[in-house]
Symmetry: C2
Subunit: 203 residues, 2 copies
C-alpha cells in the first residue's frame, strides 16, 4: 500500500490527498509535524533529501517528492491527467505556474500570517511583495476562469486540483477573494466534484 | 514553425533552446528584453497573461508558458522524456524541485548580483537566505549525482536539462561550485552530449 508522509494543513499535501480520494486509492497516512522539524531528521532525509512533505512511498525503498510529481504519478492513465499532448502540456503549465507564481506568494503569506506567532524583520519587509504577487497570480487565474469552467480542456483535472489547494485557503493569508467571482464559481465547481474531500479530511 | 519568445540570458529560456537543439526542431526566435518590460506589454500579455518568457507559440493562437511545460511538450514521445510511469514522475520531481527549491534561489541570486546595478534594501536583506537555500539545493543535487550519472534512469534527459540551465551559471550568482565534484562531473557530461548548445547560442 502507498504511504503518504504529510502535514494536514499543507496545501501541497492536500493536492495528493485529493487525487487519492478522487481515484479511490487506499493509502497509509503518516503525519509529520513540519513545525517541530520532523521532516529534517536523518530518517526523513533518507526518504526525501530535500526534507519536505508531501513525500510518497511507492515501493519499499522508492520515494517520490514534489506534490506536482506525486499527483502526476497517481493520476497517470486516469481521466484526471489528459492524454492529448497539448492538454498534458497545458496541465503542466498551470501546475508549474502554481509552484512558481502562486504557492510562493499565497501559501507563504498564509503560513506567515496564520501559523507564525511573529514575523521576522525580513518577513515583515517581504510580505507586501508576496501579497502583490499573490494577487497577480489570482488575476491570471480569474482571467482564464472567466472564459473556462476548468483550467484545461473544459473538464476537472490535475490543474484544478493543484490550484484549488492553496486558493481555497487564501483568506487565511488575508487575501480578499470577493472581487474574484470567476475563481469563486470555479472553487464551488471543484468542491462539488464527486469524491471531493476537505483539507482536514484524513483517509 | 514554432516561435519561441525568449531572452538569451534566461536559464528558463535556455532549457527550451537546449531541447529544441537536441531534437533538431527548427524554430523562430523572438527576443524580448525583460529588463525593458517587453514581456509586460498588452501585446505580450495576450500571448502569456503571466508576462514571462519563455513562451512558445505552438499554433496560430495557441501559446504555451512555463519552461517545464514547454520542454515536456517538445520532448513528449522522444528519448528525452521517459515513457515509464515511475521515471516520468521522477523526471517531474526534479523539474519541480528545480522551479521551487533551485531557481528561486540560484537564478534569483544570479540576477541580483550579475544584472542589477544596485540591490534594494529587501534584496540586500534577503540575499543571504537565497544563498543558503541555493547551497541546500546544490547539496541535494550533489548527493544524488554522487550515485547517478544523470538524474533519472541513468541516461540524459529533461531533468538534466532543467537543472543544468541555472547550475552551469551559478558562479554568476557567486556560488562556489568547487566543493561539488559530482555536480561538476555531471555538467561536463551534459555539455558533452551531441547537439549541445551554449546559453548564448541562437538558432
Amino acid at each position: 500500500m502507498l504511504t503518504l508522509y504529510d502535514y494536514m494543513d499543507s496545501g501541497n499535501g492536500y493536492k495528493c490527498r485529493l487525487v487519492l480520494a478522487h481515484l479511490g486509492i487506499p493509502f497509509k497516512l503518516v503525519l509529520c509535524d513540519i513545525l517541530k522539524g520532523e521532516t529534517r531528521t536523518p530518517e526523513f532525509l533518507a526518504r526525501n533529501p530535500n526534507g519536505r512533505i508531501p513525500t510518497l512511498q511507492i515501493e519499499d525503498d522508492t520515494f517520490l517528492a514534489e506534490s506536482g510529481a506525486i499527483i502526476w504519478y497517481l493520476a497517470d492513465g486516469t481521466p484526471l491527467a489528459p492524454t492529448d499532448r497539448k492538454a498534458r502540456a497545458e496541465t503542466l503549465q498551470w501546475m508549474f505556474f502554481e509552484q512558481y507564481s502562486h504557492e510562493p506568494n499565497i501559501a507563504v503569506a498564509r503560513f506567515w500570517k496564520h501559523y507564525l506567532p511573529k514575523l521576522s524583520a525580513l518577513q515583515e519587509m517581504d510580505l507586501p511583495n508576496r501579497m502583490k504577487n499573490g494577487y497577480a497570480a489570482l488575476d491570471v487565474m480569474e482571467k482564464h476562469l472567466a472564459r473556462n469552467a476548468f483550467f484545461v480542456g473544459g473538464s476537472f483535472g490535475l490543474a484544478d486540483i493543484a490550484l484549488y489547494a492553496y486558493t481555497h485557503v487564501a483568506h487565511e493569508g488575508e487575501f480578499d477573494l470577493a472581487p474574484f467571482s470567476s475563481i469563486k464559481a470555479w472553487m464551488s465547481r471543484v468542491a462539488a466534484q464527486p469524491n471531493h474531500v476537505t483539507i482536514s479530511h484524513k483517509n
